[in-house]
Subunit: 479 residues, 2 copies
């Protein structure tokens, strides 16, 4: 790795995901190719989140990607928010279309129009649908996985008879996103509510989980929106109540995307390359012969037996019997984020053990063959929690509570720059004005992340105006 994390984190990131073959740049501005190891991470996230959907009775569907222009016009805040980033299909073959079609940036409009047809009575509610799809937002600055012109996501859309039920779904999904992040991806997150200026275009309330990367910057890792009746009014989603009244439904939407892959890499990766919890790792176990193994066929015989055993047990396992040197193989599989490396050479075989190295631990351990299956299972079972705890500990060290003024914040940034350490998440008081948010951003590049549900402490004074704080906010630089 020519760039380390501490030298230039972004360079480290791009080089690592490129060399590890998670992605390739494509000829289309800001769009990337998800190579097999990269795409597989997303497939595992899909499997995991589909379990939630299934358990909640929320079914998958698929809606057209192209959205007629007049659909966007129906909800004013929505079009205002998305207009600058929308790619438009204006021609087919040689012919101009009568009405341009947008590539969906999100599907509230298309699904709202469908809900209007499908929902008639209180008996149809709640109506809850999910879609796995590609979406398009032509962003000015792009970074693989984190912010790309085309990305993959799930978008859930629900309609409810009353506000309470809609709000319940909004927050229930947010809780599930927290579980996906923490339990499945070992990424600790900060759960809270977005400020009005950071809401989804057209939402009444937006909630998010925010994750802290190793360089201290934030990633908005999932959002859930309560729409009130705004989209129901724009798209005429009404239902007949028990009392025979036509009433607008209350809607929600929520999404996680392939930017979780970026968060995963920037949370766990190190200077050797990728680190993945086994829940999502494309390679959980890699077996390799070491020493003069070609002279001793019993070594490959042993390893092949182990390989078949792990495979039959359902592990994602590879056997690297290439001619590359052990050092080369170590580097390659560390780069690619294999969770466990199992080596066996002539002396190991003689001693009846294999050498096992977990990607996130420093030491190799000699494990007798008869204990290997148990040891591997134990290691893979404990790795997610270990990675989560490590990330949590790092986060804790980069949370700041004693910054009360803009001057404090600037001084903090200066110090961090000098000492080459992350600026992290800063908890500040906020008087609730957009002026404060704008000023913070303008002067420091920090943006408001969210108003935490459980703030570690309450701040009493607005960081800019010095007025009494109405809210306590996390602010940070963000991807």
């Amino acid at each position: 790795m020519s760039n380390t994390q501490s030298n230039d984190f972004t360079e480290w990131y791009i080089q690592t995901i490129t060399k590890a073959e998670l992605m390739s740049y494509s000829p289309v501005r800001g769009s990337i190719i998800f190579r097999p190891d990269g795409y597989e991470l997303w497939e595992h996230i899909q499997e995991r989140f589909n379990l939630y959907l299934k358990s909640e009775g929320i079914r998958n569907a698929y809606f057209p990607m192209l959205i007629p222009r007049n659909f966007f016009m129906k909800e004013a805040d929505h079009i205002e928010g998305f207009a600058p980033e929308l790619p438009w299909v204006t021609e087919v073959g040689d012919e101009k279309l009568e009405e341009p079609l947008a590539l969906r940036p999100t599907s509230e409009t298309m699904i709202g129009s469908a809900f209007s047809d499908w929902i008639n009575s209180y008996r149809d509610l709640p109506y809850e649908i999910n879609q796995w799809a590609n979406v398009f937002r032509w962003e000015k600055k792009t970074l693989p996985f984190m912010r790309t012109s085309e990305f993959l996501w799930q978008e859930g859309h629900t309609a409810h008879a009353d506000e309470a039920d809609a709000r319940r779904r909004t927050l229930h999904v947010l809780d599930e996103y927290e579980k996906v992040a923490e339990e499945f991806l070992s990424i600790p997150v900060y759960k809270g509510q977005k400020t009005p200026s950071e809401r989804f275009a057209g939402a009444m309330d937006t909630y998010s989980i925010e994750a802290m990367m190793k360089d201290g910057k934030a990633v908005q890792a999932g959002t859930s929106h309560y729409m009130g009746t705004k989209f129901a009014e724009a798209f005429d989603i009404t239902y007949l109540t028990k009392e025979n009244q036509h009433t607008h439904a209350f809607t929600t939407s929520w999404g996680i995307s392939t930017r979780l892959l970026g968060a995963l890499i920037m949370t766990h990766g190190d200077d050797k390359g990728l680190v993945f919890p086994p829940t999502v790792a494309p390679t959980q176990i890699v077996l390799m012969p070491v020493g003069p193994w070609k002279k001793n066929p019993a070594i490959m015989e042993k390893l092949t037996g182990l390989y078949e055993g792990f495979k039959a047990a359902g592990f994602r396992v590879r056997l690297d019997d290439s001619d590359n040197s052990p050092g080369y193989k170590f580097n390659e599989w560390e780069l690619k984020g294999a969770c466990l490396r199992i080596e066996c050479g002539p002396r190991d075989l003689e001693n009846g053990h294999a050498m096992v190295k977990a990607r996130d631990l420093d030491d190799k351990v000699a494990v007798p063959f008869e204990e290997l299956a148990g040891y591997v299972k134990e290691q893979l079972d404990s790795m997610p929690k270990r990675l989560l705890d490590a990330a949590r500990a790092r986060n804790k060290a980069n949370e700041h509570f004693d910054i009360d003024t803009l001057a404090d914040l600037k001084a903090h940034i200066e110090t961090c720059k000098k000492e080459n350490r992350p600026t992290g998440f800063v908890l500040v008081g906020w008087d609730g004005t957009e002026e404060t948010e704008a000023k913070i951003k303008e002067e420091t590049g920090f943006t408001t992340r969210n108003i935490p549900f459980e703030a570690p402490m309450q701040k009493t004074v607005d960081i800019v105006s010095g007025k009494p704080a109405k809210y306590t906010l996390w602010i940070a630089r963000a991807y």
Copy 2:
């Protein structure tokens, strides 16, 4: 159902899939909404085909949907074939793009360009990738599932060191498509080679599986293409041989799409609605109370127990305890294609049995509760073969071998029209000229389906020219 299959098959089809909520029309010309039951069919096909990919070591990836215009220009036949159907993105926000971007109709160009970067040495070959994606072809005439502007598919793309290996993959996938159709979807297919005029734009050889619908029309249900070195030359996919020679790779591509859903419905459906094999059915078992069940809580207790048992055993099962009448429920679940209906009323409970009705059989059977689990499993296990056999028998009755001239064919069509029966598949002799194909199409609307690998007989004379036949062809009207 106001339209029966024999009255107006297309009307029957559209009404059935609409009422059964498989799809809705969308505001975008020729694009449909895949509603949950429709999308679930596709999810099961994905699961099934992913097993093949996994067993063959072919991994999933994801490539950008937008393709720069210059990419299409590189392979002349390819652009010629797709140009009229391509939607173009020409603007983003308010700005004109320098180069228009096409919505992918297929990804040979994008993936060819990536292969050119990724493939360097004979050690990299074969290089085999699959993508699940949405694709766009702006067709003049559309029909839900069968032919839509946007559809979902998988496209496999592979590169090989030599022709033999590329041809092996092309045909191996075709065999797998046959298995997916016959073993999984209970759709019997005709496997063969496409004539040159029906080849994929840019392919050297195209192979297909063709299915016969209940109305006798054909559906091209899957295709596999051998490209030779044509795309490798256009996109510079070269590798270094063992002997250190730069050489072009041989490529293939192959796909099945959501048109399989159309084939599934038109193969098995009847005047009551959808019929699905349990392999893909969104509802395998539906349980319902009948008679004066509300007065007797033991009935719902029994049914709930059965429901929980089937659910725990992994079946896709519903319990319909709505207030609708039994007649209404029977119709609804027959419309939706539930494989097995299990009824229980007061007398059934007294007699210790449930009444079971398979969607494709005429009679209800009384099955003692203690034998129910075994009976259900047996029915669901045998249903795919039963549906396949029924479809095969119908196909046999609609295959025609005694049509030797265009006049014969026209007479056949007339007779079928008079007797209101399908024109079916007609096996004819072909001299190998495009003139014959054009003439058949012009005069009868029949198109060449494929040159079967195993023709039931060899025809000796071209149906149009009367010259000696070089090939024996299936022709049919087609979707």
